[in-house]
Structure formats: C-alpha cells, structure tokens
Symmetry: C2
Subunit: 409 residues, 2 copies
C-alpha cells in the first residue's frame, strides 16, 4: 500500500523539537523529507541532553534526535555561504513543502523567504514556525517550550496547592505545535490539490500554548475565573485524582453517582458506600473527608489490586506508571504504537505516529540520518552533476568538513 | 477568500474535549460540521464544570463547550431509536467525513460502523477516537485525559522532586489527540482527492500520550534512563527554570556560556558573573549554588524588572503568568490568536486555531449552537420533506423533547 503523502517532497530547515517532530510525521505518511543541516554541527537536537556514552553508542545522536528524525535524509548546507544558499534555493524550487523555524527575518536575509521561493515555485507550501509569531511586541523575543509554559499560564495551574508552580514534565507545547504544523501543511496540500494554489502557513509556540489553554482562557473571558493548581485533583468531581497505594499511585475517576457506588462497593463498602457520600454534591461538599477515606483504603492495597477491583466494575482507573513502565506496557505495542528501525546493526525502538490510517498506513523506512549522509545523492537527484557538486564543495557550499562518502542506510 | 475545507461535510458524533476540539478546527477551515447530539441532554461537555450562574448566562453552555464548539450546527438524534438511527445513517451516507468517540462497538451496534457506512458511501473518511485503541488488553477500559497522564508516565515526571506527582493543569493529552485526529482526517482527504479512495482512520488517548512522551520512551529504550520530576528545572542546563521574584515567578533560560554571561552581567555582575560559574559544566556541577545565587538576585526585583533586563540582551526570559494575564496579554491578540463571536447579543472571546493559513484563512462564522437548533434545516437540506420529518418526529427520531423551532444564529 502507498502512503498518503507519497511523491511529496519536503525541504526541512527545522531544528530541535517542534519542527523535526512535524516533518517526521510527514515522512511517516510517505513524504520524502530532506533535512537541511549546518555542516559540522547539524541540528542542535543531535546532542541535546545526551551523555558522552550515549553519543558514542548511537552515532552521535541524542535520544530526542532519535525520537524525532526517522524517515529523513540529511543534506549539509552552509547557508552562510553563497553556493550553499544557491543550492538550498534550487532544492526549495523543486519541493512541494518548505518548513523552517529560524528567527524572524533569517530566511529572507538568505534569499529563502516565501516571496523569493514562491516566484520560482508558485505551488509551494511554505510553513514557518515561530516562538511568539510574526507581529506584536514579543515577535523578536526568543523562547522555548518552558518559556511558553510560563507565559501561557499552564505553569500557574500545575503543581500542588499553595506550593510553587512546576513545569509539565514533557515539551507538550512544542509537540502540540508540531502537530499544528502538520495540520496546516496538510490543509494547504489539500487546497492545492483542489485548486493548484500554494500558500504560506504558520504555527508558533504561542498559538500552540493558547490552544492547549483555550478553555481556561474562555472561562476567564466569560466570568473572570482564574484556576489554580490542585495537585492531581480536579474541580469537576470527587474522586477525580491520584490516590496513594502500597507501591505507588493510582488514578480513580468516578464522577457519576452510579459509578461512585460501584467504586465504593468494590473498594470497601463499609468505609465508602455511605449515605453521606452518595451524591456528587455530597462528595464535593465533603471533598477532604472523601479523599481521606478513599486514601485510607487504597494505602493498604497495591496499584494492581486497586486496578483489579475497579476495572471489572467499569470505574475509570489507571496506574501512575513510571516512564519505563509506560513505555513497556503491552497495550502500546498491541495497537502498533511502537515502531522499530535498525541503526548500525542495533534494533532501536521508537513511538509511532499519534494516528493510524487504515488505507494508507504510516511506515518507518529509515533510521535517523547521520549529518550530511545524503548530500551527494540528493544533489544528483536534483540534476546537479558531479563536477558541479565538486565545484560547489570547493566554494564551501557544504562546509569546510569533508563531505561523507555515502549514506548510513 | 475561501476556506481550505469549503464544501466538505463533517458528521460529528463526538462529545466532550478531543473530538469537539478536532471538529471545531475542521469548521474553522471551512467545513460544514454537523454535530449529532442526544436529544434533551446533548454533548456532556455542554454542562461539564459549569456553575448554575454560568449555565443561565450562556444559554446552558459551559466554558469548555463554548471553547470547542463554534462553527458547528447541531442536530438532535436519538440513536436508541430506529428512525433516529436511520436519519443518522442517511446523513453519514452524504458526508465526506464521519467522526465519533463512542466506546468500541457502539457504532456497529447502531448500524453506523465503518463497513456499513462505506457500503453506502465508499469515499467516506471514517475517523474513530478511542481511549486505549481497538486491540489489546485495555481496549475496553474507559479513560480520560487524567487517566492517560497517569498511565503514560507524564504524571510521574511532573511535580517537585521528592514530593507526590501532580497533573498537568490542562487536558493536554485530549487536545493533542484532537490535533492528531485533524492530521489523520486531512491526510486521508488529501489521499482521497488524489485517488478517489476513502478510508478509516483512528487516534486515541494512548497514542496521543505516547507521542507527547516519545523522546522519554526512546531514551528509556536506548539506555534505561527513567526521568523524575524536577519542579520547574531541567536536566539539560543551568539556569533553565523558574525563579522567584518580588511579585511572582519568572523563567530564565541561558544554556550557552555566552548567553549566561549576558544574563549574569545584566542581573548582577558581582554576584553572578563569576569565574566559577563560567561554563555549562561549572553551572551543572554547582547547580544548587548557581540557582540560589540567581534567586537571591531575582527576589529583589519584580517579574517585569527581570524581563526588562534580560529581554534586551537576548536571554530567553518569560513571566509566569496567571491564566488571566496570559489570556489578556496583548501578544496573543496581535497575532490574531483571539477570535470573537456573538451569542445572544453578547460578544464572546475565544482562542483561534493553533495555525494560520495565509491563502485560505480560518474563520469564525457562528457561535456554538443550542442543542438541536439546526435539526430541521439540516434534514430539509438532506432532501427529507416536512411530512417525513413530522413522521420521524412522531416515531421518536429526535427524542421526546419538542424540536426547537429555529436556529440560534
């Protein structure tokens, strides 16, 4: 079976998280993704957060680079060099999609802005990703996921009551922004398929963060409510949070009175199935008391025991897993959520796309590329001859470093 | 200008967050979204988390319903009733996209499963959203955003060191899953436009959570690392976290030695621009000491003062805003991130799509609909005559409640 984006070429100038996560999904869908990297150094994500041991073991690649750069080929181009920029322009002129997350104005200074590319390639979909967007007082301010967790208000709602705010443990705003880029690119490709028209599209950390926070902004705009952190609890109902057990925490959610009755009976009828806890209003009213009563029961059980009592009676229950338990939990593999590729003879596991297409399945065809591994292949495909490649190399288009001789795949 | 999805009809059976957030974006892109709701009750999201005052003020709509249901029309159909199911089937047979998030098997029991719809409408894109997916030991377990925060490991990485885990303050997994649905639907529409083929697509809370956690799973699979909560800090570099000020917290991120030098000099050269903090290794090695030194400086300043010192010297800085400060911050409005619609004569603000399409701009054409407001209009468009509508009403297709006479728009 073919992929939904077979035959679509994506020229990808993005670095670190949001952009690479987005273009990896385009590659999963079948697009030919060409990753443009700075010679010698490459995507900063190649080394971010890695140890020296890791870097040796996986060809210089950090875990996050491995996680977000499969199904891509790498070309090393020095955008500070005229021959490098000319090569990038020629590639952009022959691509369906161009994506970048440079700071505002950088692509224009290199002659790679939308207007320039569009003049040579009117059908191009040109996707930009910014921190705070292109207009307004913060347009030129640098930022990352953490900065937007603070700016957007997510941090102010995350943490224990009356203690300092904490960050969300993963780069949720970055990755959500990555999916927003994919949405924008796919919508524009669909429009182009119907009309022949290309266009510029945009996403940003700020838009991503605002979308994640949208229902709290709406609530504030409607009636002035400003939510505060509640630990693992929720203002919606009781119980609706994590509870301690003998070996970790477990989440129990029983909003309706019927579900609560099943929950209380299955856990400890005597302590919990009491008339004064019967309705959702009773439980909200006696919130502290109900939580303490449930905790006193769950503390004597293991996570698994709580799970085994509640799941069969259709109460929403989940274990609070560590990263390792979550990654290895058999459910994820059972739905095809784990993919695998070979790197240097080793099998490496990674997480599949967050969606499944029955008719045009996503696929994993290659491991993340070594820096510049495909430079020559890509240039030859583009129709640039070997002599011309050699001349551009002399001119510094591919950096001072020696061009790797072959691919890694 | 037209929308990218003009002329596309979406039949939307989803309730609460992920699904409605997804179909709202399809509506923003120009699709005609028909929201199928249970007569009398409607989407549970209509009342979720609302107060009695709010419900009176906004026509019975909760803030989250207002946030995720613009650009839709509502039809009330009783899927427990044969005439209601027949009507749903007729609508599905004439739709480009059908979306639902019922439990596994429910649509099939109603005769509305993919195979049945496909037989009448081979070009249909049929999108399902599940908790843990369709296969595997947890396929039948109920879940929500919080359950997956626990199951997927996100909670285990969120919180203060050596204190209990906390939840992410917003439903990030739900909303990320919503964008994954939009990606899948758009990719399938693009494929259909090129080939004429429809297909079934799928997303789930589990896939969404795994995608958000993917680089931590990869790290664990590569070398066994299991990350733990670090408050607002990050293992990557120092400083890279929130610091206390006289009036709240501020985030400072200065990973490179040059940026740190500018940061230290701008804040308090004497205390911070010291040789023993000079390199990233020094600062990691003296993590506690460096954080204490920065905190002692920031505590004497306001958030705005720290921001005003660091932003001009290009250090990544952000205020930790409350929900209200974040919603009203002028930057979001400056990039078109705030939209407005009229409801009952009141202007209501909401958050725009997380992406921008220059050639086919997203638009807000209508406020969230009252339950069943468009039932009759939609049926007439479908070609069902007034007598037939009356007959089906008699048969209970639209529930026992009286069908509202007109729309709210």
């Amino acid at each position: 079976m073919t992929g939904a984006l077979d035959g679509i070429r994506v020229l990808d100038f993005t670095r670190v998280f949001a952009g690479p996560a987005a273009t990896q999904l385009l590659g999963d869908l079948g697009a030919d993704v060409i990753k443009v990297e700075e010679p010698g150094r490459g995507d900063e994500g190649r080394v971010l957060g890695s140890t020296k041991e890791m870097l040796k073991k996986y060809g210089g690649m950090s875990p996050s680079f491995v996680a977000f750069n499969r199904n891509k080929r790498s070309i090393a181009l020095d955008l500070g060099n005229p021959a490098g920029r000319r090569t990038a322009f020629e590639l952009a002129a022959k691509s369906d999609v161009v994506v970048h997350n440079f700071r505002l104005g950088a692509m224009e200074r290199w002659g790679l802005g939308y207007e320039a590319i569009k003049a040579a390639n009117p059908r191009v979909i040109y996707c930009e990703f910014f921190a705070y967007g292109k207009q307004g007082p913060l347009a030129h301010l640098g930022a990352n996921d953490l900065a937007l967790q603070g700016h957007g208000g997510l941090m102010s709602m995350t943490g224990e009551p009356d203690r300092p705010p904490v960050r969300v443990g993963t780069a949720a705003i970055d990755l959500h922004g990555g999916l927003a880029m994919v949405c924008a690119i796919l919508a524009a490709l669909f429009h182009r398929e119907r009309t022949g028209e290309g266009q510029a599209v945009e996403a940003s950390l700020l838009r991503s963060s605002a979308h994640l926070m949208s229902y709290f902004y709406t609530e504030y705009w409607l009636d002035g409510t400003i939510r505060k952190p509640m630990g693992t609890a929720n203002h919606l109902s009781v119980p609706n949070q994590a509870f301690p057990t003998a070996d970790g925490s477990v989440i129990i959610i029983a909003p309706s009175d019927e579900m609560w009755h099943r929950c209380a009976t299955a856990l400890d009828a005597e302590r919990l199935a009491r008339p004064e806890y019967k309705t959702i209003f009773d439980r909200q009213h006696r919130r502290e008391e109900v939580i303490a009563a449930i905790s006193s029961v769950t503390r004597r059980l293991t996570r698994q025991e709580v799970f085994d009592r509640l799941a069969p009676v259709k109460v929403n229950v989940a274990k609070v897993n560590s990263v390792g338990e979550a990654a290895d939990d058999e459910q994820l593999a059972a739905i095809g959520g784990v993919v695998e590729f070979s790197f240097d003879g080793q099998k490496v596991k990674s997480v599949a796309a967050p969606f499944k297409l029955e008719g045009t399945p996503t696929k994993v065809e290659s491991a993340p590329p070594m820096l510049g591994a495909d430079t020559e292949t890509i240039l030859l495909e583009l129709g640039i001859g070997r002599d011309e490649i050699a001349a551009r190399r002399e001119q510094g288009a591919f950096g001072k470093a020696k061009l790797p001789a072959g691919g890694n795949r």
